[in-house]
Amino acid sequence: MALATDVPKESFRLSMLIYDTRFRSITIQVVVLLLFLLLVGWLVDNTVQNLAAKDKDISFGFLWQRAGYDIEQQLIPYTNDSTHGRATIIGLLNTLAVAALGCVFATVIGVFAGVLRLSNNWIVGRLMTVYVEIFRNVPLLLWIILIFVVTSETQPAPSDFKVTAAMIEARAALAGAGTVAESAGLLDRITGIYVFSMPFFLWLVIGIGLVVASWQFAATRLAASGTTRALIPAAAAVVWIGLALTLFNDGLTRATETLAAQGTVQTEPANQKMLFDSTALTNRGAYVPAPILDRPLGGTEIATIPVNYSVLATLAVIALSVFANLALLRRARAIQEETGNRPTTWWQSLAILFLPTIALLWAMGFHLDIPAFATDEAGVSKGFNFQGGILVQHSFTALVVALSLYTGAFIAEIVRSGIMAISRGQSEAAFALGLRPGRTMNLIILPQALRVIIPPLISQYLNLTKNTSLGIAVSYLDLKGTLGGISLNQTGRELECMLLMMLIYLIISLLISSVMNVFNAAVKLKER
């Protein structure tokens, strides 16, 4: 009996799709795909039907219509005659400005805080812990609003900087009387200090911090006797008190002195500009000097976006300087490796880095446009706001500061985890070679920690960029404020605006993560 050849040729049956392991996985995938497509189809169909029921269509034509509203902060020219599309670009640039600055500051803050949190100095380490825990555990929105309210409510209104006609008269009267302010003696300087004031409190707190920190430094770093240890904090205290009597004296005594000296007539506005009379902090924002060129190189427009040749030329010169400086350092290193002596390069570096840029700016007639009130012949201020300069809105400042500090706290933790991931043997080996702790961190630990740090850092950058849309809470006109806010409202194109906005945020996020992935690929451990 030869039964061996009698193997039945198995034909395909429908039940095999479920019971045969060869087909089952494919079956499940096909079913899932079908369900997913059904869901998408239902969503699209529902949208189309509802739009039809409301007699609405999908059209992006509004992007070419006149916007009709104004935007406070514009990085490229815009008026209310521009289109909604242009307003969208303005909003996008405002978003990118906050995101770029925020990412840079957050990285710097995060690296510092992360490294310092591992410091052997107990106070510094705990302070960083407090910073990280406070910022990480309170919602970002609250930080943004808090910083905005504090910056806008504590500053004086621009009108407090104005010189009124009464002040001019009072000045004339004083000049007639021949009053000359005498410089105060040491006793006056001491007794004049107003103890119950915020500046004095700040001075006191910083002073105590200085003394404690220098005492700790003396105790841990110096193998000296008790007297020397006591000398260092004492010296710090003497310097700090000396500063209070000289440089800071005006700030600490102003409150009482002005009242006593001026009596009822005011000769100066209630508030003065700071930083050599160039910058005014008001409740509307900070008026800072604007860079102005007398002989600009002109510019052109590419797709309605202005391109400024002066800026391009300056950037090119800076890039060339940096490049030349690198070449110089490379040459110095080559000489060092050959002969063992490193040539002095610091003054050449300084010259190469700064002289060409300064020369170019001088040639273009660079100067600063300082914000000031328009005045009439007598010197009385006119108008509502400072003229000239750049107004940095408090909403912008609040957003950048809050985003940097908040994301910085997360980055600090990432940096700390990256450092702790490096085996202790690495730093011990570096110490054994005689490297100081600072150089060990910069040359041995951080470069290796980067490999651990970068992947989670990408997601922090993405978070920060997306979180810029919280600017709506402080009326910052970013992409959400223009396209997703006013344009949406004035045109009633909710669906189009939302889709476009999602697409733009998606593209920004993908761009950031691809750039960071390229960087990651460059620094990661090369496996050969």
């Binding site: 509802n50 409301k54 609405k56 509307r284």
Partner: protein, 338 residues
């Protein structure tokens, strides 16, 4: 089994979404409650009082509609909406009716697919400044910082006004009236611009109203009125005629106090038609014949509502002006009840 339940749910959702767009009257009756979109809080026009009860000029119209449809002016749920969210709330069916100082414009009527069924307040955009600013005309505001509520027609009027007069300004966009007042009082802006009625209401709530002035220029026409969704004509007619009934009541001297007496004694055929004593006028639009009587009883006639909420006896102190009846030189004119 699970799959069919899912599809059932999907189908049901689609049907509900489809059904929500028409038949607002039936929805309101079935719900037993009118959902009215209101201001987030504008004194005199719409805000909750100390007990949490909504009161105000716009609120009174909502209550009149509720009285006409449901017979009870308290059966209203008020949904506060901002300048930005109001039309979306209406279009999506979240509210049945929007009475929230909304300006009737061409594009809102046509592009947003809304219907403005009446004008309950003829307004215009004005500017408020602090007295010590020393400004007496809006044309002196060159270079000023202006607080402006976003998502409003005032935003566009403002840009037009400054452009037309060839002067410049810096806008500070804010979300709502209270934020605008905070910024204005803190000096973050030199002037606050919105509808003149809104400015009067804002000034009434300030600690020192005498130190703020409203500039004489009115830079726009702002006909404010109740809004319904486009396409539901029956519901639009109900709101329009409820408002008309309030106007006719003032014209004919019918007040909240004397309405019962008038109803029992009147021989005026228009009043008899309106109060449901003659003919089937209420039934024509799917309501009870006594619907408009109930609407008038809710808060009184148009004049009574005006005086009680925003009139000269209130802190807001608005004069009737354009909002007087046509018989007294104003623009409020109701079509005949016939």
């Amino acid at each position: 089994m699970k799959k069919s339940a899912l599809f059932g749910a999907l189908a049901a959702t689609t049907m509900i979404v489809g059904a929500a767009t028409a038949g607002t009257l039936d929805d309101v009756k079935a719900r037993g409650e009118l959902i009215c979109g209101s201001n987030t809080g504008l004194t005199g026009f719409g805000m909750p009082d100390a007990n949490g009860t909504w009161v105000g000029f716009d609120v009174a119209l909502c209550r009149a509609v509720a009285a006409a449809v449901l017979g009870d002016p308290t059966k209203v749920k008020f949904v506060p909406t901002t300048g930005e969210t109001r039309f979306t709330a209406l279009a999506s069916g979240e509210v049945d009716l929007l009475v929230r100082n909304s300006t009737w414009t061409y594009s809102r009527d046509n592009d947003l697919k809304l219907d403005f069924v009446a004008v309950n307040y003829y307004d215009g955009q004005g500017f408020m400044v602090k007295k010590d600013l020393g400004v007496s005309s809006a044309k002196e505001l060159d270079g000023a910082t202006v607080c402006i509520q976003t998502g409003t027609t005032t935003e566009l009027n403002l840009a037009d006004f400054f452009k037309f007069n060839n002067i410049s300004y810096t806008p500070v966009t804010v979300q709502d009236d209270s934020e605008a007042q905070r910024q204005y009082l803190a000096g973050a802006c030199d002037t606050y611009t919105t509808d003149a009625s809104g400015l009067a209401a804002a000034r009434a709530t300030m600690a020192d109203p005498e130190n703020h002035i409203i500039l004489p220029e009115i830079i726009s026409k702002e006909p404010l009125g109740p809004v319904v969704r486009h396409g539901d004509n029956q519901w639009g007619d109900i709101v329009r005629w409820t408002f008309n009934a309030l106007l006719i009541a003032e014209e004919k001297g019918i007040t909240k106090a004397n309405i019962e007496e008038v109803a029992s004694t009147t021989t005026d055929p228009e009043i008899r038609r309106m109060l449901g004593l003659e003919g089937d006028y209420g039934k024509m639009m799917g309501l009870d014949n006594g619907a408009f009587k109930a609407a008038i009883m809710a808060g009184g006639n148009y004049g009574e509502i005006f005086e009680a909420n925003i009139g000269s006896a209130t802190p807001i102190g608005l004069a009737r002006g354009l909002n007087a009846l046509w018989t007294q030189g104003g623009l409020q004119y109701a079509a005949p009840f016939r």
